[in-house]
Structure formats: C-alpha cells, structure tokens
C-alpha cells in the first residue's frame, strides 16, 4: 500500500494534465510502435535460425537472366555484411524496411512492397464487407439471444452458431461453391466477370479507391458494382460465418451476465421497461467482451482471408505468397526460393493486424470509461 502511494506521488511530478481518452490513445500508440519493433525482432529472430544464404535472399537484386549472375548469394553475404552480429544485421534490415525497400521477389519478378500494395484494395474490399457484416450482426444477435435466454430466439441462435462453428471454413467454401456456382450459376469465383474486367480496364473508367463496388458507383456503372458484389457474396459469407458465431456467443454470455447485475434491477425499479433496460443500459456493457475477443483474434482474420482467397481464386494480397500454392512454383524447371515475399507478407500482415487491434481497443475505450481511465476491478 505504502509502495503504491509513493509511486503515484513520484508519478505525479511528471504528469501532464490530459483528458483520459487522449492519454489512453497516446499510450496505445506507443504500445503499437513497441509491438511493431517487437514483431520485427521476432521475425528476424526466426531468420537468424537460418544460414546466411537464406537471409541473403532478402537482398536479391532484380535480375532478368539468372544465368548471368555468379555466386550471387555469396556476393550478397559479403556486400550486406550478413556475417556481422545479429543486432547489427537487424538494424540494417529494419532501416531498409523503413526506406520502403522490402526486397525483390524472384517469383513475382517485382519488388515486394509495391506488389502487395497493388493487391491491397481487393483484400480490403473482402475484409471490409465481412467486418461490416459480422460485427453488427454478431453483436446484435448475441445480445438478443442473451436477452431472450432459453426462449425461441436464443435456441435458434445457439443452434445456428453451433453449426457455424462446427463446419470448417474450407469445407463451407466448397459446399457453397458446389451449390451456388456449379448447381445454380449465381455466384462465380474470382473478383470480376469478363465484361466488368474490360470496363475496369477501359480508359473512361477512373479507379478512385480500387474497391470495385465503390468505384462502380462513383463512375455510375452499376453493372460493375453488381458484378463485384456478386463475386463477393460467397467469400464474404464464408469468412464471416465463423467469426459471427464466435462474436455472438461471447456477446450472449456477456448479456446474460449483465442482466443479472444490480444496475439492471435498479433501472427496472425506476420504472423502465425490460426492453429499455436492455437496450439502454445493459447493451453497452455486453458489447465489451465481444469487441475484446475480436481484438484478440484479429490475427486469425488474416489467416481466414488467405484460405478464402485461395479457394475462391480471389486475387488479393495472399497471391504474393500463394501465387501457385497448389503446385510447386518453378522457374526454368527448378524450384525458386522466395524469402523476400515470405518475409514481406509476414511483415505486411502484422502491420495490418496491429492497427486493427488498435481500432478495436479504441472502440472499447469509447464504450467503457473504466478502460480509458485505467481502472481495474
């Protein structure tokens, strides 16, 4: 007790008077940067467990004819100092990353970072629609199920959620393809149909955002938007279903717990109807565990996106590492190792996940003052 008092006293000396939310935000941003540095250290630590020749692939120069380069890896090791102590190597590698040079991929035959940025809009489109689908649906359906506990909506929700979590996503993808692509030709795989692709590449069509559905609206080409949506239905459903079920279940449990608390009774005692007590008072608190669990499992979304993109032949960022995942990638008859694309994808996905976690944390803090004040029970 004495210890903690003295600590706050010494902390007060440096305390700047900031609103709690601002302090929370600054704190989280610092955490993000620490996490990025930590993640790159972990990545390079894994690379440190490989021979220098493997690490040398990260510094591959762009080439046209492979036969022209002699003992390439040995030259790179000498030039880039890959025999130096590992911390020195790490700092060099990290500074190179900061300059935007993420390496050159022999499989794609282009630089890794531009290649990934070019494919980003497709993945963003897919992820955005599934987030917009499963977060509101998961929160509301879980809340309703928790409110109507052990009645019809709850039973129905529990059953559907159970089925949704039991079916592996890749099996679901196959079933959906078999029904809605083979049997009923409604939702084809890929990203655009033939007509839409030629409209997209025509000179009159301006790409504002890179998202097909939104660009189509901005250009007044509703057929492009419709075509994009048609291609998005199956991947989005596959991606969302399991996340929806998990989120809904967590929210349901939270809702049940919140409804048993005293403040709901107080609200009822003041004369509020049950509906008002649930939607005005309990709902806010019931959302928090769900958002927290989404933040924790944000990384699994990337894995899910990868599997979905491969199965539905969707040309997103996953193409960078999965150019031909079903066969071995070869170049002139031999397998080509491609460490630059691998490391680039790992880094990229971490840089995507961390801001997502940050956003969900901020959302949590906006809902719950206890979190932004740093109060723990």
């Amino acid at each position: 007790m004495i210890q903690s008092q003295s600590r706050t006293a010494s902390g007060d000396r440096f305390k700047i008077d900031l609103p709690p939310l601002a302090r929370f935000l600054i704190c989280r941003v610092i955490h993000i940067f620490v996490a990025i540095v930590g993640a790159t250290v972990v990545l390079y630590g894994i690379m440190a467990m490989t021979p220098a020749e493997t690490r040398a692939q990260l510094y591959m120069p762009p080439w046209d004819s492979p036969g022209g380069t002699k003992n390439l890896l040995q030259t790179i090791i000498k030039e880039q100092g890959l025999d130096d102590p590992l911390p020195v190597q790490y700092v060099r590698w990290a500074s190179r990353l900061l300059q935007g040079d993420w390496g050159w991929s022999p499989i794609m035959r282009e630089h890794v970072l531009p290649a990934m940025l070019r494919r980003t809009p497709a993945t963003v489109e897919l992820t955005l629609y599934s987030l917009l689908l499963f977060i509101p649906l998961g929160l509301t359906s879980g809340a309703i199920a928790g409110w109507k506990r052990r009645r019809l909506p709850d039973r129905g929700f529990q059953l559907i959620a159970f089925i949704a979590t039991s079916i592996p996503p890749f099996v679901l993808a196959l079933v959906l393809l078999a029904i809605f692509y083979v049997a009923l030709p409604w939702f084809p795989p890929g990203r655009n149909g033939m007509a839409a692709r030629s409209i997209l590449s025509s000179s009159s069509f301006r790409a504002f955002t890179g998202l097909v559905t939104i660009d189509g609206l901005l250009n007044g080409r509703f057929d492009v938007t419709l075509d994009g949506l048609r291609h998005l239905v199956l991947p989005v459903v596959t991606l969302s279903l399991s996340h929806w079920a998990t989120l809904g279940r967590v929210t349901r449990t939270a809702m049940i717990e919140e409804l048993s608390k005293d403040y709901v009774n107080t609200a009822r005692g003041k004369g509020l109807s049950m509906r008002e007590a649930v939607w005005v008072h309990a709902l806010r608190n019931a959302f928090i565990p769900g958002i927290n669990s989404s933040a924790v499992s944000a990384a699994s979304l990337v894995t899910g996106v990868f599997v979905v993109e491969i199965i539905f032949a969707y040309p997103g960022v996953s193409k960078v590492i999965g150019l031909a995942p079903l066969n071995n990638v070869t170049y002139m008859g031999a397998a080509v190792p491609d460490m630059a694309a691998t490391m680039g994808f790992a880094l990229y996905s971490i840089l995507v996940v961390l801001p997502l976690m940050f956003l969900l944390d901020v959302l949590q803090a906006l809902i719950d003052p206890r979190i932004r004040e740093g109060v723990t029970e």
Partner: protein
C-alpha cells in the same frame, strides 16, 4: 458423477471423443494393413487401371480415391485412410495443444506471480505474438524447410558454385533446418505452438494476479514455502481450470486448421509422406483424402454427390472431431467454472 451423466450433452461429448480414441487405438483391427510390420495410412488397391474413383465395394468399404502419379494412377482405400487418419488427428491435436498449453501456462504463472515490470514486459511480448497471423508463420517455416532442401541438393541455380560448377558450395543447415528436415518438427505444429500460447498466458496471468492476493498464498509463504512451491503446488491447481477448457477446444480447432492448411496446399511437409509413427510430424490423412478428392467435388457436372465417398467421409470425420472436442470443452467449462456459466 451420477448427476453429471444425466446431462445428455456431457454423454455426447464423451461418446464422440471416446469413439475417436477407440478407433485410433483399434486401427489395426478395424482396417488391417497389407504389411502389419510396417503399416501405412494409405492402402493402395493394386492392379486397378480404372481412371474413375471406385464406388464402395468389397475391397474398399467406402470406395477409393484416385491419385494421379507421374505415369500411373493409384486407387487409395478411403476407409483405411479414414481409420488410420484418426491416429494422426488425435496425435497432432493432443501434442500441439498440450505443448502449447504447458508453455502458455508457464508464462502466465511466472509473469503473474513475479508481477511488476516483468509482468508488463510479458504482457507486451504476448501482445506482439497476438499480432502474428498463423499463415505468416506457417509460410515462413515452410520456406525455411524448402530452402534447406534446395541448399543441400543445390536444387536451384542460387546455390550452384558458378565459378566451379563441379565443386558445390558447402552450406551447413542450421539446427532448426535439420530438425525440420528430419521430420522431427512439423512446420505447422511449430507455428501452432509458437503462435497460439497467448490465450493461455493471458487468462492464467489475469487469474494469478487476482489469486496471489488470497490468504492461502500468504499462509503458504508464512510457512516458509519457496516461490516454486507456491507456484506449482498452491497456485497452479487453483488457476488451471480455464486452461483445461481451452485445451479441449484447441484440440479440435487445431486439427481443423491443420486440415485447412493442408487443403490449400501449404502443409509444410515435403510431398506425400508415407511413413507413420513419427510423433512430431503426423500426416493429416483426412485432409490428404480431401486434397485427392478435390477435383471431383465440384467437377462432376452439377451434381456434387456423384462421387460423395471421395470427400464426404473425411469431411464428416473432421466436423465430428471438431464438434466432439468443442462440446467437451463447453461441458468442462460448465463443470469447472460454474459461476461463469
């Protein structure tokens, strides 16, 4: 115990999981291999040149899947792989989940008990690992494994000594690469262990932080117990319940994730492995069945059920496996954490 058995869901969970355990144990009886000395998870029906998969018949109770080799095609018995695949699934799930849990619990216990700056450091490290998507790790370790093969066999021009092509450059694989190549470590299993211990650490950490204020810890300390004794004899039994629930759920989830990765073609092992009996690198036969049946699922002119035996049994086995462990986890949760549920 008696009241516990009255709930049908408890019975269901135990029956499903028990079923898989029995099938795994009795695999040699259920589907005797051709060569009992050296059993393989895939049984080839030799002498069949039929290009279409065979429907269920006397030799193969659940039909066959066709695997096209370079020059000839093989018919694999679905039932045989299904039965022997249970072993691989159980083995993979149990080993991975238990190792993960041990590691996570250890991290959570020590960081929570020591507290202070060490705890905040541990939480930061946990957060860093939480940001890693599984796929990035799987692909990274797979590349490292493939690269080791390339280096050893000088399979790509990158590793050829162009100044003197007849004198290969001696590249020594590192310990990690040697373990991967010897099938001692499965890239998938390695990734799953590396990137899924965080929930255990977080949940155990939170409970330990609360629990170490309790009087029994104080009492143990005043009796002269050391830190290790307090952690493992007093704290561990009181905080382990949520971790047990997580383990049960993870076993099913990890096997399904492994199948998903195998299905999209990024299982780290080289080609089709025929050997079994390696504890740390089991071949996921269920997923391999799905891989071999992949082209037949939607390619059969609008009727996905023409060749149902190529994918339905393996899929159902996977789903049942996942459901069984999931329900077991839920029921364990009800028993072990009665307040929450």
């Amino acid at each position: 115990m008696k009241t516990w058995l009255f709930c049908w869901r408890n019975v269901l969970a135990v029956v499903i999981v028990g079923f898989f355990v029995i099938v795994a144990a009795a695999a040699p009886l259920l589907s005797p291999p051709d060569d009992p000395e050296n059993p393989t998870p895939f049984r080839v029906l030799w002498g069949n040149t039929e290009p279409l998969p065979l429907p269920p018949n006397q030799d193969a109770p659940l039909g066959t899947v066709v695997y096209r080799g370079a020059e000839e095609l093989f018919h694999f018995d679905v039932f045989h792989s299904l039965v022997w695949g249970t072993r691989a699934a159980l083995r993979f799930g149990l080993v991975t989940a238990l190792v993960t849990a041990c590691f996570g619990i250890l991290v959570g216990l020590t960081s929570g008990y020591v507290g202070g700056w060490f705890n905040s450091l541990a939480i930061r490290v946990t957060d860093v690992f939480l940001a890693f998507p599984m796929i990035a790790g799987v692909w990274l370790f797979r590349q490292i494994l493939f690269d080791a093969y390339d280096q050893l066999h000088q399979a790509t021009w990158l590793y050829v000594n162009w100044d003197a092509p007849d004198q290969p450059i001696a590249i020594v694989p590192t310990l990690l690469q040697r373990l991967l190549m010897a099938n001692w470590l499965d890239p998938l299993m390695l990734t799953f262990i590396l990137f899924s211990w965080m929930p255990y650490a977080r949940i155990i950490n939170a409970i330990v932080l609360r629990e170490k204020q309790e009087e029994y810890v104080m009492a143990a300390r005043s009796l002269g117990a050391g830190s290790a004794r307090i952690i493992f004899r007093h704290l561990l039994p009181n905080v382990i319940a949520p971790a047990i629930v997580l383990v049960a759920r993870d076993i099913g989830a990890l096997v399904i994730l492994q199948a998903a990765f195998t299905f999209v073609g990024i299982n780290g092992t080289m080609g089709v492995q025929w050997e079994i009996g390696r504890w740390f690198s089991p071949v996921p036969e269920w997923a391999r069945l799905l891989v071999m049946g992949r082209e037949w699922i939607i390619g059969a002119y609008g009727n996905p059920f023409t060749y149902w035996w190529m994918y339905l049994p393996a899929t159902l086995a996977l789903i049942l496996f996942g459901v069984g462990w999931n329900v077991l986890g839920d029921r364990l949760n009800v028993i072990l954490n009665p307040r929450v549920s």
